[in-house]
């Protein structure tokens, strides 16, 4: 087998050309040239599970977990090797040609894709392990793991792509697999609708991706990313065609990214996608699928960064990102379904990443992607563990679970503080870097790139977003784990196969922030910045040291959010317990009103936020698209009325006459409609003979 692989590899190496052109970077040796295994193994395994899964001792899970273990291991080894000796190399095998443009399959081994291999592999491995416990007893257990493996494989095809064609193939594979997975419990109509909604929303955005990919490829004359990058590197004067189309192409690509990364207003599919099993939500909203859009913008970063190309798209990106991060965060406040809270929180964090990309902070955006992958997967898996235990998604059926499921509680708490950006957990470091990038954007960008005011505005929105994040996470933790248990099912700690992945992810969420401690470590910057297209490092900036002011602001916002959350929801649990047990006259009304402090908070803080704004957001979410459609319908209807009026006055007679003629003609033709196929066949043959005879005579 090894011999076969080596031989195959030699053949592929013989056909490979081009690649990363920076001399300072290594080609990665055999580790990189064998990296084609990363996307291929899960794709093969997905089919193997379909065909042989049921015969395996663990019904296909063993194949899936084996594959993910391989991915995690390979990703880790590749990452370590990359850290010690940076790699940048593309491998391509030609499959077909359209004119001069080669269609290729290949694999890219550079900082960006290695980081993604690592994230998908490691998070995927833990989620797959967890999924065995979660999906135990499911009637489509094997099928679930087949589509789950396909999902991970599709994502790896996407991130390994060195050209647009393969990127689109991977992109669509992820889309299809997500459709399969969201609709896993398709017996309920709601779930299959959610799957279709996710698929269709993504399809709408995919049109943007296609248009952008076609425009860029055609103007460069190659599907390869490396050729596109070279064209950009040579500058607008040397690539006039690309420069001419760059703005619209960049915008179109960003629309594609908005779909997969669920940016406002194409985010509507993501909360509904919670209909899938929880491990799916964890993988989909952490390591795969939603990161694809961020990855795409990262991959195309020079296009957005170099002056004369799509740099003006950046202010659109940063605006959309800022809108997403704030508006969706507010919605999370009013959700009762714990998975929906996390879904909206994911949207908010994706907004941070996208806005960072828009601010030109390549490293910061990807760093947040990296840390978010760990703590969000952890939160989803924790929520899944809770749901598994209480058999309900609603926080109103939970409460007090801290005592029943301590491991889930502690890991979920770590995920929450990491998400809220509390020092020293991972989220703090990445969020701080993003805030710094906004400040930088506020100070340094020209009007075409968003302007100084926009950067500053986004910075304050982001800080407000940090406050909201801490606020709803506190609420979630309190309602779920503190107070009295309100559900019916008997809560219990989940099995080890589910808690160990939680612990693994918690370790990642706690520690991975330190790898990019500004001024102290810059491991992550080195990882993703490895691919030295000339001048690439000049395009983005990286904070040299921790910006104390911003860090304190961020922490203060998070602290305020936590404090308010605790004051509002924490005591609430206590008083409810007291209310049921001990009713002392005089004291009771005060307790019931929570010393009237809650009312003050409620009227002063919650209602203005939760009431009008959040409700408006919720309403906007559900209704605006409808409204647009209805508006278009109304417009058409009134247009129709105008036409009808015109009709009545003038053309009535003519219309009626033509109607009568058509009616009479139809009446005659109706005689032909006998429903007897052979009579139709006679007519078809006769008509063919007449037509061909006519042609023969004519020529």
């Amino acid at each position: 087998m090894l011999q076969l692989l080596t031989n195959l590899n030699t053949i592929i190496l013989a056909t490979e050309e081009g690649g990363g052109h920076a001399e300072a970077l290594s080609d990665g040796g055999v580790l990189a040239s064998m990296a084609w295994l990363i996307p291929v193994v899960p794709m093969v395994a997905a089919f193997a599970i379909v065909f042989f899964g049921k015969k395996m001792p663990y019904k296909g899970w063993d194949i899936a977990i084996g594959v993910m273990a391989f991915e995690a291991l390979y990703g880790t080894v590749l990452l370590l090797s990359h850290i010690s000796n940076p790699i940048a190399k593309d491998f391509s095998v030609e499959i077909a040609k359209i004119g001069d443009m080669a269609i290729e399959w290949g694999w890219s081994v550079d900082g960006l894709s290695i980081m993604m291999y690592f994230v998908v592999g490691v998070v995927g491995f833990l989620v797959f392990a967890y999924a065995k416990g979660y999906m135990e007893g499911d009637i489509r257990f094997t099928w679930f793991f087949a589509s789950f493996t396909l999902f991970a494989g599709g994502m790896l095809v996407l991130v390994s792509a060195p050209n647009f064609i393969q990127l689109i193939v991977g992109w669509e594979l992820v889309g299809v697999a997500s459709w399969l997975l969201i609709g896993h419990y398709w017996e309920e109509h709601e779930n299959s609708s959610a799957a279709i909604k996710a698929f269709l929303t993504n399809k709408v955005a995919d049109v943007g991706l296609f248009i952008g990919a076609i425009m860029i490829s055609m103007s460069v004359g190659s599907f390869r990313f490396s050729d596109v990058m070279h064209a950009i590197e040579e500058g607008a004067a040397h690539s006039p065609v690309l420069a001419q189309f760059a703005f619209w192409a960049g915008l179109a690509l960003f629309i594609g990214a908005m779909g997969k990364s669920a940016q406002f207003p194409l985010h509507v599919w993501l909360p509904d996608a919670m209909a899938g099993p929880t491990p799916v939500s964890a993988l989909m909203h952490a390591a795969t699928m939603v990161t694809a859009g961020i990855y795409l913008v990262g991959r195309m970063f020079p296009l957005y960064a170099v002056e004369g190309f799509a740099d003006e798209v950046r202010w659109i990106i940063i605006t959309i990102g800022a809108l997403t991060l704030f508006l969706t965060g507010l919605i999370a406040l009013v959700q009762d379904d714990i998975k929906k809270v996390l879904a909206y929180s994911t949207l908010s964090q994706l907004g941070y990443m996208m806005a960072a990309m828009g601010a030109g902070a390549y490293t910061a955006g990807l760093f947040h992607l990296f840390t978010h992958a760990f703590f969000k997967a952890l939160l989803f898996l924790g929520a899944g563990s809770v749901i598994h235990s209480v058999h309900s998604n609603n926080m109103s059926d939970m409460g007090g679970l801290r005592k029943h499921m301590p491991q889930t509680f502690w890991t979920f708490a770590i995920g929450s503080v990491a998400l809220a950006g509390v020092i020293p957990f991972a989220g703090f470091w990445s969020k701080d870097e993003i805030l710094a990038s906004f400040e930088y954007a506020g100070g340094h960008y020209t009007a075409a790139q968003g302007g100084a005011a926009l950067g500053t505005a986004v910075l304050w929105i982001a800080i407000a977003g940090a406050f909201v994040t801490a606020f709803y996470m506190t609420r979630t933790v309190w309602l779920t784990f503190f107070g009295e248990y309100k559900g019916k099912a008997h809560p219990h700690e989940s099995p080890k196969i589910m808690t160990y992945p939680l612990i693994g992810l918690a370790v990642g969420s706690a520690l991975f922030g330190f790898i990019n401690w500004p001024g102290v470590t810059h491991v992550f910057t080195d990882i993703v910045g490895g691919r030295a297209y000339e001048g690439f490092h000049d395009l983005e900036h990286h904070a040299e040291s921790l910006n104390a002011v911003l860090a304190l602001l961020g922490l203060a916002a998070a602290g305020l959010g936590w404090y308010l959350g605790w004051r509002i929801w924490g005591p609430d649990r206590e008083t409810q317990a007291e209310r049921d047990t001990f009713k002392v006259n005089g004291l009771y009304p005060v307790l019931e009103k929570k010393y009237y402090i809650d009312d003050a908070y409620m009227n002063g803080v919650i209602k203005p936020i939760r009431g009008p704004i959040a409700a408006a957001m919720n309403w906007f979410n559900g209704h605006v698209l409808d409204f647009i459609v209805n508006g278009a319908g109304l417009l058409m209807k009134s247009f129709g009325k105008v036409v009808y009026w015109f009709d009545q006055r003038g053309v009535d007679g003519a219309i009626n006459a033509s109607g009568a003629v058509t009616g009479a003609g139809g009446g005659m033709l109706r005689l032909l409609q006998t429903g007897k196929v052979q009579q139709y066949a006679i007519l078809i043959f006769a008509a063919t003979v007449v037509l061909v005879a006519g042609l023969v005579i004519w020529f």
């Binding site: 009637i139 052979q678 006679i682 005879a693």
Partner: protein, 196 residues
């Protein structure tokens, strides 16, 4: 024309073609279903003989094996299963009016093709030379390997499709252990089958 008549190949052609047309005619007009099928056998055997005459040996024997050996048997099965009347049956074809229309259309078709062919090719000669099976094999597995694979997929699809269409659904109750996945489908089919 004299050349044509004196050539022994053409004698063979006439000896094959006349029974072939007759058999084909009887196959589409015979009032007896089984006779129809047997006449089809004759017509197909004649076409195989024609292929031999043209030197296409492999195709000729394929026709004999696949058509005469397999497809005809399938037809006979079809006749038995659908309980078509086995004796002479006047109701097998449509009324004379339809027959007249069909005869006009197919006659016109024949006339059209004949005229076009004679105009187009006149008396272009065909010289038969045997095609060796190895040539067919090389061509099919090199030049035409993808169509070949596609055809095998088509056959597989037809196989599965035939089974799915024709199989009679089991009586309800046997299927209690069936998973929920198949139940909707089977319920659907049973409802249809239940009318029969």
């Amino acid at each position: 024309m004299t050349d044509w008549i004196t050539s022994p190949e053409n004698w063979a052609f006439v000896l094959i073609a006349v029974p072939m047309v007759f058999a084909a005619f009887r196959a589409v007009t015979s009032p007896n279903v089984v006779h129809s099928v047997l006449f089809l056998v004759v017509a197909l055997a004649a076409s195989a003989a024609l292929f031999l005459l043209l030197g296409a040996e492999f195709v000729a024997w394929t026709v004999v094996l696949v058509y005469i050996g397999a497809i005809i048997v399938l037809f006979l099965f079809g006749i038995m299963i659908t309980r078509a009347p086995l004796g002479v049956e006047t109701e097998l074809s449509h009324s004379n009016q339809t027959k007249l229309g069909a005869a006009i259309v197919s006659g016109a078709l024949f006339a059209l093709i004949t005229v076009t062919t004679i105009q187009g090719f006149g008396d272009a000669e065909v010289t038969a030379s045997p095609t060796r099976t190895v040539e067919i094999g090389e061509s099919i597995f090199q030049r035409f390997v993808i169509p070949f694979e596609v055809v095998s997929v088509v056959l597989l699809a037809a196989l599965i499709g035939g089974i799915v269409l024709a199989r009679r659904d089991p009586v309800e109750g046997d299927e209690a252990e069936r998973s929920a996945m198949g139940s909707a489908q089977s319920a659907n089919l049973t409802a249809e089958g239940g009318e029969a």
